[in-house]
């Protein structure tokens, strides 16, 4: 379980391509695998690229989307977990 103060780092081998419909594609140049991100996923990725902690990302998402804190927390943790599994990001030592 990742803490609210946790930061993760984007893998430098990943290319992000934003699409016209506020969605995006990730291409991992190492594995040559593509991944799609929906609007929320793209926002999380953008905030990760700014170096925000998971707690800061959750707070911003609550402001931007009309969802409960619990739901936001769940969404962030779920996506970050998948990104870690696919080696698209890595946990930064606190």
């Amino acid at each position: 379980m990742l803490g609210r103060n946790q930061k993760v780092k984007l893998d430098s081998n990943v290319v992000l391509t934003e699409l016209e419909n506020k969605e995006a594609v990730l291409l991992h140049l190492g594995t040559k695998m593509y991944y799609s991100l929906n609007e929320t996923g793209l926002r999380i990725w953008q905030m990760l690229s700014l170096g925000l902690t998971l707690g800061e990302i959750s707070e911003r998402l609550q402001d931007e989307f009309d969802v409960t804190p619990a739901k936001v927390q769940e969404s962030v943790n779920c996506l970050i977990g998948e990104l870690i599994t696919e080696k698209l990001v890595e946990v930064v030592d606190e």
Partner: protein, 339 residues
């Protein structure tokens, strides 16, 4: 499928070290009136496919408008691009997708460093963004790699990369020597070309995607190219009908005997007939040349043959270290054989 290759513009948004010298730094765009003339007449001459090149065709200020004209006229089409503009324009291309047979992206290295050294920093990443769009939006795409001394070791990795990225095919082509490629030692010798060709032919056995070479590889067939079979009709950004897109403006506009005529000055049908006649003459002369007994091994590289025939490489004589320099035709010999 007979095709017309149209150089929409000689402008480009990159400045590649291996580009035809002096060709893609100007500001010339093909006029819409020429496009209209082509669309009105090409089908009647058996051409149902238009391929757009440049420069970079997406730089033409009316690129999307031209594609819509092509679409509405009922032609299938494709284009070759360096991919730098693709994420900005793809939205306008999606409605035309059912006539778009594919987008060919120039990728000159499997490795980012290799590609960017030839084409400029950040260009590899933008190609990767372009293909990401293609995969998500189901736009068929292929890669084209020009072989140089720098990327030659990566032809196998290119096949692997193209396959994994979802490319519908991979095409390799030999570099056309220029003063800049000569100074930077980018040109392969004839022997090195043959070696890399062997490697590429072997790759075809191992990968599921079509792997081909653009005309210009060693072949004993004297007339292997689509333009020589009237299966390809080339038009440059000035409206000139040319023998081949590879020859247009090559060699700093020194030799222009490859130009058949200009579509601003004649109907399409007249240009077509001139090309037929010109091809007939070229066939006759090349056959005579081989029968004359001094046909050399390097003459079986068809682009090299035409570069000499149309006097595009005389400048190479000033670069004795280039592996092709000693093979440039002597004009006196050419006169004796072909005159």
């Amino acid at each position: 499928m007979a095709r017309i290759v149209i150089e929409l513009t000689n402008r480009c948004n990159l400045s590649c070290t291996h580009c035809f010298d002096g060709r893609h730094s100007a500001d010339g765009d093909l006029k819409i009136e020429i496009i209209e003339k082509i669309l009105a007449s090409a089908k009647a001459h058996g051409f149902d496919y238009l391929a757009f090149t440049g420069g970079d065709p997406t730089v033409h200020p009316r690129f999307i408008e031209i594609l819509k004209m092509v679409y509405e006229a009922g032609y299938n089409f494709g284009f070759v691009t360096n991919g730098q503009n693709f994420t900005k324009i793809y939205g306008n291309i999606l409605p035309l997708r059912d006539r778009l047979t594919g987008v060919t992206f120039s990728l000159d290295g499997a490795k980012e460093d290799t590609h960017d050294r030839l084409r400029g920093k950040g260009s590899y990443s933008r190609v990767m963004k372009a293909v990401s769009v293609c995969v998500v939006k189901d736009i068929p795409f292929t890669f084209n790699m020009v072989i140089t001394s720098q990327n030659r070791p990566e032809v196998g990795e290119m096949a692997e990369l193209a396959t994994k990225l979802g490319s519908r095919g991979l095409r390799f082509g030999h570099l056309m020597p220029t003063p800049l490629t000569t100074v930077q030692n980018l040109d392969l010798s004839p022997e090195e070309r043959r070696e890399v060709e062997s490697t590429i032919w072997r790759l075809r056995e191992y990968y599921p995607i079509p792997i081909v070479m653009a005309p210009g590889y060693y072949i004993t067939d004297l007339f292997p190219c689509a333009p020589l079979q009237m299966q390809e009709f080339n038009i440059d950004w000035r409206g000139n009908v040319t023998r081949c897109c590879h020859l247009s403006s090559h060699g700093g506009d020194v030799g222009n005997e490859d130009i058949i005529g200009n579509l601003a000055e004649m109907p399409f049908s007249e240009a077509y007939e001139r090309l037929v006649e010109s091809n007939r003459e070229f066939h006759r002369r090349k056959l005579e040349h081989r029968a004359g007994g001094n046909f050399k091994d390097s003459h079986y590289f068809p682009c090299w043959y035409c570069e000499n025939y149309f006097k595009k490489v005389d400048w190479l004589k000033k670069f004795p270290n280039n592996p092709w320099s000693s093979r440039v035709w002597n004009n006196l010999n050419l006169k004796r054989v072909l005159g």
